[in-house]
Amino acid sequence: MTATIAPAAPRPTASARLLQLPWDLFAALTATAVFALAALWPALLATQGPFAMDLANTLAPPSSAHWFGTDESGRDLYSRVIYGTAASLGVGIGAAVVSLTLAVILGSLAALGNRPTAAAVGWLLEVAFAFPALLLSLLLIAVLGPSILTLILAVGIGTAPGYARMVRGQILSARGAPYVEAAVALGHSRGRILRQHILPNSLRPLVAVFALSIGQSIVWASSLSFLGLGIAPPAPEWGALLDAGRGYITVAGWLTVIPGLVIVLLALTTTTLGRHLQSILEKGEK
């Protein structure tokens, strides 16, 4: 049944719109701003350098001088978390880019390629799924050596098959959409339909997925750091911070708990953004 849609209400002003934001989106946007600032201009937020040691003040609990406490070398955890934002976000964004780029290429081939190509790519994806992603990362790191770039590649390649399947599904479903048939009925060529309808409509959800993927990638990357395969310490990347704090968990829990919470917060932020982006895109332009 068709619902009658009420005539559009008068557009609220920009500031009114901001105030009308759902609380979670508002919180996510605020967090994003803080993360972005920390990544681009850490010195502004940090209270000291990321490597500055204070051997007289090691494993100090959170206090007004050291908001997140200090580590075994007396480094200020808060400043290290701030300085680590760039690396962690970099890995997250980089891996998301790698992952989605691969996914778009493979997914498009699997959905639109000729029969042998689609079958081969489909098989490749199936194998990639069956192949443990962790092993893939282990091998990559063994071949390339641990570095930010390796981490980006390892995480990006590891998460690509899932997204590739998604892309394939999106393209297949867009290809079967009534508006594509309408375009055929209008006499448009295959290339034009692909360009105008199928690709834009199937790739558009990726914008939201991209945001989701950043958070997932950071969690993934931190897992690799835990296994000692991430960015070399004492670089303040969050996963590395967590790994370094592990040995002090019973005496200095903050070294583990706080970076973990920051990772969770970031994952939560990107997921929330992604969700809202998705629903905005689904609703269509207003």
């Binding site: 049944m1 068709t2 619902a3 009658t4 849609i5 559009a8 209400a9 009308q20 959409a177 009534p178 508006y179 048939e181 309408a182 375009a183 055929v184 009925a185 209008l186 006499g187 448009h188 060529s189 295959r190 105008q196 309808h197 834009p200 409509n201 558009r204 609703k283 269509g284 332009e285 207003k286």
Partner: protein, 572 residues
């Protein structure tokens, strides 16, 4: 006008008399109002609705989508929904005030004292469970018997609603049953505990006409057995079959109510009259259905004689579909037809009859397994797609769901511009001029150009779809259930528009519909399809008055008799 007050006063008086006689209403609703909490504050949905429901009586609530009729019905059983504010002067069932019942208390009433039937059992029964389990659940919830007794009762109930082989059917899921059988099963589940009050919310919408007739018969029977029925429908012809008393709702208010026969024969309100007038039928052919349409029709060129020229011709078209288990079904079997210039060829049939497939083959969106289709005398179905493209501008399509046929990223302007060939409209200004012309033709303001289809009403969307179909001045438009999803007054406007456009441009329509009334109203010739085969074809006059085939006769017989003319005129 004081008619309503007088009427209400009269009915109050009647109620009092009934009370004195011990003939009390089973359900009494007074000044019922419902509002929903939205971000923009409370939004009233139902305002001041009052009615009584007596034993063995059927009260129908008629109105278009959004009129508040379903909300009214649900409020009566305490299921208004989240965020609703309900207020009522009185809401009583069997004389008991039910306005303040807790959810648990309601649970004891629902299903036992009040039965509820929704539209289309395919989605109104749990699609993952056998229908027998669904029916048994109605019994179980109210502690009826043990498991064994319940399964016996389920068979009994299915038998009573006329389901053959009930043991087998009870084990099947809705999707394994035909539309008629599953709708009967749904009714069986609602009537399992023989409730005194049955609420039927659009019980026949989306059903084929023959199934609709069966469902109405079942309701009729339950009414005869003393059940009181609240019938919710947008379809006056359905209401006319069953209702003793009719409420006409618009925008949450009752605009008119009264005894069914009186109201239909002598509607007092303009809105009611418009509703009645909007119902298409064989009798309305050549006339207008909507007030606006009347003016348009007058302004339009007169109906032309149907031209001899054949614009689209199908010969022995066959189409098979292979299903998952490897079996092959024949969707279209040896279908042949000719569509002449300026003609509307109606294809009517029930779901699964192959009419839509026929339409898609005519559009060359589906490749026929055998047979040929020619367009304007040229090969069409036999060509490869790239070579068809040149001819595509001659034939266009309007489908049931225009929204999904628009790219969701595009606004109206882009949709329409996209339909224009660069070769024909080379400059941007030419294209802009053309799309404004199209909007004028379909009666839409130019302001919609910037809007997105999602933000438009169903009628507006369908007009955009028609504008797009007209973009390159085609010879033929295939209309596949193009008005089925619309409210009756909107449907009337679109049908009027189609007639006007046909007269203006000499268009040929291949008009596909399950709705015999629409077909009868619009068509110059009619094909009746069943199981992929054309069982009969002819003029509407032949088909509706002198059906030759048994199936056609059955179909015609199923059409609800709806003649709003006063009874004595009818007799004359």
């Amino acid at each position: 006008m004081s008619a309503i007050t007088t009427d209400a006063a009269a009915s109050d008086l009647a109620a009092e008399i009934d009370n004195l006689a011990g003939f009390r209403p089973r359900l009494r609703v007074r000044d019922l109002s419902v509002a929903f909490q939205t971000t923009g504050g409370l939004r009233p949905i139902v305002q001041d609705v009052s009615f009584d429901l007596y034993p063995g009586q059927c009260v129908a609530i008629v109105g278009e989508s959004g009129s508040g009729k379903s909300v009214t019905a649900r409020t009566v059983v305490g299921l208004t929904g989240r965020g609703a504010r309900v207020s009522a002067g009185e809401l009583s069932l069997h004389g008991r005030d039910v306005s303040g019942l807790s959810d648990r208390q309601w649970q004891g009433i629902r299903g036992k004292e009040v039965g509820f039937i929704l539209q289309d059992a395919l989605v109104s029964l749990d699609p993952l469970r056998p229908v027998g389990a669904e029916i048994a659940e109605s019994l179980r919830l109210h502690g009826w018997g043990d498991a064994a007794a319940r399964s016996t009762k389920v068979i009994e109930l299915l038998t009573s609603v006329g389901v053959p082989k009930p043991e087998l059917r009870a084990r099947q899921r809705p999707d394994q049953l035909s539309g008629g059988l599953r709708q009967r099963a749904l009714i069986a589940s609602a009537l399992a505990l023989a409730p005194d009050v049955v609420i039927a919310d659009e019980p026949t919408t989306a059903l084929d006409v023959t199934v609709q007739a069966q469902v109405l018969e079942l309701l009729e029977e339950s009414k005869r057995r003393g059940a009181s029925i609240i019938l919710i429908s947008h379809d006056l012809s359905v209401v006319a079959q069953l209702a003793d008393h009719i409420l006409v709702m618009k925008d949450g208010r009752v605009v008119e109510q009264g005894a069914a026969a009186d109201l239909l024969a002598a509607p007092r309100e303009a809105y009611t009259r418009a509703l009645i007038a909007a119902v298409p039928s064989e009798d309305t052919r050549g006339g207008s259905l909507s007030p606006a349409g009347a003016a348009l029709l007058e302004a339009a060129p007169p109906a032309r004689e149907v031209h001899d020229e054949v614009v689209l011709s199908a010969r022995d078209v066959v189409k098979h579909f292979r299903s998952s288990d490897g079996s092959v079904t024949t969707a279209v079997d040896s279908v042949s037809f000719d569509l002449h210039r300026g003609e509307t060829l109606g294809i009517v049939g029930e779901s699964g009859s192959g009419k839509s497939t026929t339409g898609r083959i005519a559009l060359a969106l589906e490749q026929a397994d055998a047979g040929t289709v020619t367009l304007l005398g040229q090969p069409w179905s036999s060509l490869p797609e790239p070579r068809r493209r040149a001819l595509r501008s001659r034939i266009s399509v309007v489908s049931q769901d225009p929204l999904s046929s628009f790219d969701p990223r595009w606004n109206v302007e882009r949709i329409l511009v996209d339909a224009l060939q660069r070769g024909v409209f080379p400059s941007a200004s030419a294209r802009a001029e053309r799309i404004r012309e199209l909007l004028d033709q379909v009666g839409l303001p130019h302001a919609v150009l910037r809007r997105f289809p999602l933000r438009l009403s169903g009628g507006q969307r369908q007009r955009i779809a028609i504008a797009r179909a007209l973009a390159e001045a085609p010879d033929i438009i295939v209309l596949d259930e193009a008005v089925s999803a619309l409210d009756v007054t909107i449907q009337a406007q679109i049908l009027d528009l189609l007639v006007v456009l046909q007269r203006q441009h000499g268009l040929s329509y291949l008009f596909i519909s399950h709705d015999l009334g629409v077909i009868a109203h619009l068509s110059h010739r009619v094909l009746v399809m069943k199981d992929g085969v054309v069982v009969e074809s002819g003029t509407p006059d032949d088909i509706f008055h002198r059906p030759q085939e048994p199936y056609t006769r059955e179909l015609i017989a199923s059409i609800p008799v709806f003649d709003p003319r006063p009874a004595q005129e009818q007799n004359a």
